[in-house]
Symmetry: D2
Subunit: 298 residues, 4 copies
């Protein structure tokens, strides 16, 4: 039986680890705060008191952590997973981090005689709970092959998109598109409201043509209702847009709309709305349009 | 049998009029250049030598013209359709024009004892040929009711979105979304190419999540192949973005991403690419990223 | 003695006409609301009850009106100044209007056997009162020659910048630069405040180098003090940015920073701040930075 | 006699060190490549073979290095200047680096019993040669007092703008303003050229009013002549805009125009123009306006 060490049992990692238990894997979980470990144990997993303990007997290690420095902190160093795990162990990092951090980690893994994949996910808490994530995987084909049965317990779409780092690059592209499309939908909705159009009829007809998109399908109704409970928080999308910008800058690629969308997310966060769903970009469009009463009336 | 005068038999109007003939309507077509009229006659319609002749005996008049001033030129004035048609005639304008021009036309129609609807369409030449357009209708409910059987011969989705002008407002929102999403997809694709990712695999996984959109589904492949034969020309989208901007400015609504997308379309046009498909926004992203060789190698 | 008809005796036109009286010209003023005419009479000018009466005996006609349509309304038509004035009369339009409207007016003047110059001014109310305006003149060299002694009573800098319309083009460039620089200074000041820098010391050192500009010299102190009484109102700069955008679009020239500055001015206006000085762009930067308390405490 | 260690004898540091020699200071210079040290010796200074050697007997240490990591590399660590210099030594860093790196360095200096100031400069190579720099100083008042006589040998304007890091913050504001104003001037100039205006006359009249700025005074002529030999290179301004963006993001301040200007600089660099003067933003405006022939004809 494959033993999987799962490090980072938060909103995403918790249900992902539980899905692996459910699929019959031997899962040893570790999390900085203990209650998440206890929850995993209740669901049939095992708990560890630290990273080293978690990874020593693992065949595969999955990390699901907030940002690149967190992954580097558990992966590298004397007590890190590349030192403490068995030689040859496969590390699958599902966190969203900088592509070049992912490349650096993969090189460190190989130097230490281990192997690493970047496998960031899209689909949010619901996708994690329902094992319906989209997973974009970067790394060696043989490693992806080996990881696939595990990843398919976590998501519906598992695609190998290129070498180490490529998974993170595609995730960055994903966050760029999502941020920009939410902002465009926000602009369109505020414009339609300002012009006294039947917005629900409008959304219906817009969704059917070349303007159609998943934000219109899944988020426009909540945005029109000013329901901004997350979902995916502005704070996290802000962090991700930092990755998008840095990666595009490094690649020398111009992303004018992506950059502007990132600035608007940064503004929303600076205004204290970091805990709202990213659909709250609509609030900023309203404010810039002098239509912020709705916002204050919330 | 309902007699329909159809004014403007261009790339869109020609096949639309033909679809009405096919549906059994008595269609009298007029177009500034004669060959388009002859084509309609071959398809079973009738031809007129001028606007007045076309509309005199019509029950319903449809216009499909390049811009607002063109519609005003045929609708208003001593020999215009509101003067030359029978009292009570219904005018359905399918052109894409400024919302307030549509409102003004509707008021002029009512003053003249006629009735008007704005019913701009989305779906391009193929949608027109295949009677698969999305049609966003603004006007009185009773008039929309009357027009519906006719419009349903032209498109699959016919939605009443509000009073006169609302159809144009929704069309403007549509063009805003389409322009912005194409630009975002262009930014994402150039970024993915620059990072040596498997772009086709990436498009597959991106399309499945919250980033998913019709541009990714229907245009990304052509964009990756640098196939920019229209489709919908930059020149036309440039004209439409002028409408979007003016309508948003009039409504006092901030559309920062829409505005920036409009500027990029204007640049592409200034560079002499007005005849390319709007997917050619990718060329501009490449150029701004110092990756324009592909462009010159085309 | 040269007789000058002066049409439009508002905040700018009033003191300009008074300066011409003071310089010894015979000035016949007309204004839509009567009190401004009475003020001119008190200052030694003459009053007229209408445009026709004002221009019949004039050698030179000056217009100082809010926008292009206003100038066209008084210049063209059966009772307009090109019909009612003496053949050969010189029309100097000091209003800020679209360059192509200025060209059209000049052609209409020539067709009617009159002559026209566009001579928009920069320098605001104080410049008008103190005869210290900058005046950018477009038109025939001989006409500029003839107008120069008059214009030099109104401003310190009178420059012939090209054919008819060129004056308005340069004025548009002026408004583009001013809007953009105010916004940049606002961004810099809010940034400095947020970082607990001594802003007055910072302004001093910034003003001395390549970053130095007239906004820093003349407006930064008021902006830091949140003193936004006009000066030049957001409403007017918004109108002028409409001209800038339209002229650049017509010329096919990309003005990305100018466009974005125009959007921010439009937002400030949509928020109800149209009556504040354009230095109030600082309020918008504060708001977007979540630092709007100062604003509400004003 | 005060002994000054000067580390970093490049385009800026070389002439600055020479000016200190000329003012009578005992200057020990160190540079990674030897010829710059020899040049200093020819001018009357002394040379050192390494950082440690340079700083051991110094009363004051000046660093003038490309970026923050370079300064940290020489300042921190076992052989760094805070370890190798005499206790109490004053370190004046004239490099342009992140404000929070400057703060961190100052804290490290204090921990080590030394003192640090950030004193970035503005004015370019000419300012360095002519001892005409503007210098924005952050740190303790007593330290600034002590450094002032030295700094006044390097620049004309020496202003204490706040605590450690404040000098870098003001420098960031400076680079934001300069980038944005150059871009605005480029947009205005291309617009004026496209409209067949007398650009030299236009620059004259624009410079006299609220649009007036040092870029118009000192760079517009070269930009009109397409003379882009540096001056200040795009590569360096690109690096500085990275600092500006990061500092504004950290402070939570929205800098929409600054960000867009930074994107345009990044594009110019991606296109291979990193070695041109930053006035070359005009080339990008031309390109976006389809007027790039001039560029290719250069």
């Amino acid at each position: 039986m494959t033993t999987i060490a799962f490090i980072g049992l938060g909103i995403m990692g918790g249900p992902m680890a539980a899905n692996l238990v459910r699929a019959g894997y031997d899962v040893i979980g570790y999390n900085r705060s203990r209650p998440a470990v206890d929850t995993l144990i209740e669901r049939g997993g095992r708990g560890a008191a630290g990273v080293t303990e978690a990874v020593t007997e693992a065949d595969v290690i999955i990390t699901m952590l907030p940002d690149g420095p967190d992954v580097e902190a558990v992966a590298l160093g004397e007590h890190g997973i590349y030192a403490a795990s068995q030689p040859g162990t496969l590390h699958i990092d599902c966190s969203t981090i900088m592509p070049d951090t992912a490349e650096r980690l993969a090189r460190a893994a190989v130097s230490a005689g281990r192997r690493a994949l970047d496998a960031p996910v899209s689909g949010g808490e619901r996708g994690a709970v329902e094992a319906a994530l989209s997973i974009m995987v970067g790394g060696e084909a043989a490693d992806v092959q080996e990881a696939r049965p595990i990843l398919e317990q976590l998501g519906k779409t598992v695609v190998h998109v290129g070498p180490n780092g490529a998974g993170q690059t595609v995730k960055a592209a994903n966050q760029l598109l999502v941020a920009g499309i939410i902002e465009l939908v926000a602009e369109a909705l505020v414009f339609l409201e300002a012009c006294a159009v039947d917005t629900h009829a409008a959304v219906e007809v817009l969704a059917g043509g070349l303007a159609g998109n998943a934000v219109l399908d899944h988020k426009a109704a909540a945005m029109l209702a000013r329901d901004f409970k997350p979902g995916f928080r502005i704070d996290l999308h802000h962090k991700d847009m930092g990755i998008v910008r840095a990666a595009a800058r490094k690649a020398g690629v111009a992303i004018p709309l992506g950059t502007l969308a990132g600035e608007l997310i940064a503004s929303l966060r600076a205004q204290g709305h970091g805990d709202l769903d990213h659909g709250a970009l609509l609030l900023l469009v309203e404010q810039l349009s002098g239509r912020a009463t709705t916002n204050q009336e919330r």
